[in-house]
């Protein structure tokens, strides 16, 4: 199969046999066909069918390529198809998840669902998530207000002032440790803190913000640090050489240069903590009423609302057809859909902001 005769000196063999462009498509079709046939005959489920088809494709294309294109081509095909298979495998749960939430939750969403709270809602009365949306937005906003300055200044210290210092090394280490704190531990810490200050019965939204900021600060520090490091030292030196003090160099040259990336990082960190449940369960508690006051009384957020709607879904109305789910289940799906939309909106905003503040050329 391999060429035995060395080409004569002077010749320049640049052309080699290649599989036609439709080869991957053909192999995929054959793989799915063969797998489907086997699945039909043996009576397998859809999972076994897909897995076998993927395996046949990943094995088949390099084999064919090895015959036609040789070793390097075959390896290339193997890696390419492995990467594509991994990509599709990673995409399946994501698409599946969005599809499930959409199909289960969409029917629940209406204007009443978004503007009613759950006060005195019994059975399958029209309830809503207004109180949970308010709770989520307030708690997350307060967490961001705490985390952004702390994280930003911490990152500025690490990159601009602390280079090579012992303190900076310790802070980096502690930030790394903080990244790994389980969220429930952050919640228990906030609870312990506020119980110590205000007595054992304390439950308040601001406590949730403190717990969430513990989770958010390390993410903000990390992303801001990366962005600051991307700013070339040339710019700092150019600024110093003009007789600009260091703090003005940082605030007027370094930060504006990477502000797009920093804001993107902060928005993504917010999107990451907005879905936290565990810390809010213990410190923010749960209520059926709208509460605009972060510093008093319990406050429900969307994830906590979803948790309680799912674990305590209420009873099925006696006149409902058999097999009907309790009303809480549908509300949980609806709230989950709203939460996903909020997170996606945040991601979208992050991208737009990154685009707007990106350094313009030309």
């Amino acid at each position: 199969m391999t060429t035995v005769d060395a080409p004569p000196r002077g010749s320049l063999p640049l052309a080699a046999a290649r599989l036609p462009v439709w080869a991957p498509g053909l192999v995929a079709a054959v793989a799915f066909g063969a797998s489907g046939l086997l699945a039909l005959l043996a009576g397998w489920g859809i999972t076994a069918f897909v897995v076998l088809a993927a395996f046949l494709f990943v094995a088949g294309l390099p084999l064919w390529s090895a015959v036609v294109e040789g070793r390097r081509g075959a390896m290339d095909r193997l890696m390419t198809s492995a990467v594509w298979t991994a990509f599709v495998a990673a995409l399946i749960p994501l698409v599946w998840l969005i599809w499930t939430v959409l199909s289960e939750g969409l029917s629940t969403i209406n204007s009443a669902f978004l503007t009613y709270d759950m006060r005195n809602v019994v059975g399958d009365d029209q309830g809503g998530i207004y109180h949970a949306i308010i709770g989520t937005l307030l708690v997350t906003a307060a967490a961001a207000i705490i985390s952004v300055p702390v994280g930003l200044f911490c990152a500025i210290y690490l990159v601009e002032y602390g280079k090579g210092k012992q303190l900076a090394r310790w802070i980096t280490f502690l930030v790394d440790v903080m990244t790994g704190i389980p969220s429930i531990v952050a919640g228990l810490f906030a609870l312990a803190l506020f119980v110590l200050l205000f007595g054992p019965e304390i439950r308040l939204g601001f406590g949730g913000s403190v717990a969430l900021s513990l989770l958010m600060i390390p993410i903000v520090v990390r992303s801001t640090e990366e962005m600051l490091r991307l700013v070339p030292d040339d710019l700092r030196e150019a600024s110093y050489a003009l007789g600009v003090p260091k703090w003005r160099t940082i605030s007027k040259v370094v930060l504006p240069t990477c502000i797009g990336g920093i804001i993107t990082g902060i928005t993504l960190a917010t999107a990451r903590i907005i879905g936290e449940t565990a810390p809010l369960l213990v410190i923010a508690g749960k209520t059926d009423s709208v509460n605009f006051n972060l510093f008093g009384e319990r406050m429900t957020t969307l994830p906590v609302y979803i948790y309680y709607s799912f674990t305590q879904p209420g009873t099925v109305p006696f006149d409902a057809p058999p097999g009907t789910d309790p009303p809480g289940i549908a509300r949980a799906w609806g709230a989950a859909l709203v939460l996903i939309v909020i997170v996606m909106a945040l991601n979208l905003i992050a991208r737009i902001i990154g685009r707007i503040f990106a350094v313009k050329k030309g």
Binding site: K163, D234, L235, A238, P256, G362
Partner: protein
Amino acid sequence: MAKSIDVSDLDIYYGDFKAVEGVNMTIKARSVTAFIGPSGCGKSTFLRSLNRMHEVIPGARVEGKIMVDGQSLYDSAIDPVAVRRQIGMVFQRPNPFPTMSIYDNVLAGNRLNSKRMKKATADAIVEKSLRGANLWTEVKDRLNKPGMGLSGGQQQRLCIARAIAVEPQVLLMDEPCSALDPISTSAVEDLIHELKADYTIVIVTHNMQQAARVSDDTGFFNLKAAGQPGHLVEFNSTKKMFSNPDNDATEAYISGRFG
């Protein structure tokens, strides 16, 4: 307004590593002084120590004396920020601020120091500096476009305009033409000739012809051996350096026999 610089027994360190040792020289006011020498011999390090840019690098320090206008630059009472306002610098690679327009880049030194000025004054400074840097005719119609959109040579002249907009006493140039094509190089050299009337200029260059063309005095730096600190071998008028140098090593370097 230009000032002369007196350097005596200057040693420059990066942490424990001695990069340059025992430099003595007098840089004359309203003249161009060039430094030549092989890579890594401490020319740029020496240049950066002249406006206290050297200490921006962690662990870097200087021993010895640099006197400007009767004041010792490394005295504890001296504010490095004030020094850099008087002794400007142009770098090897053009580094305009990417977030700013051409106009704002020229004014950066004034604006970043929060000097408040009228629009007319600002316009006058921008035009004067850009004319000084030979860039005015090329950019006067697009002053509000980003500075990064210019070509490499234009960017470098923009950086020079930015440096002279704050009207320093001394202008340090660290291989300002090494990234430029011959046409831009000659534009920068013409500029150096013009700036000489008002500024004390110190330039580091790898280009011997350039040193011969633009400078009045030349300093030759060299290494004794790899890992050893660099030192000033000879400091003389350019004419003498390139025709009849005192030192054999200088002649060997200039005639291209080593380094």
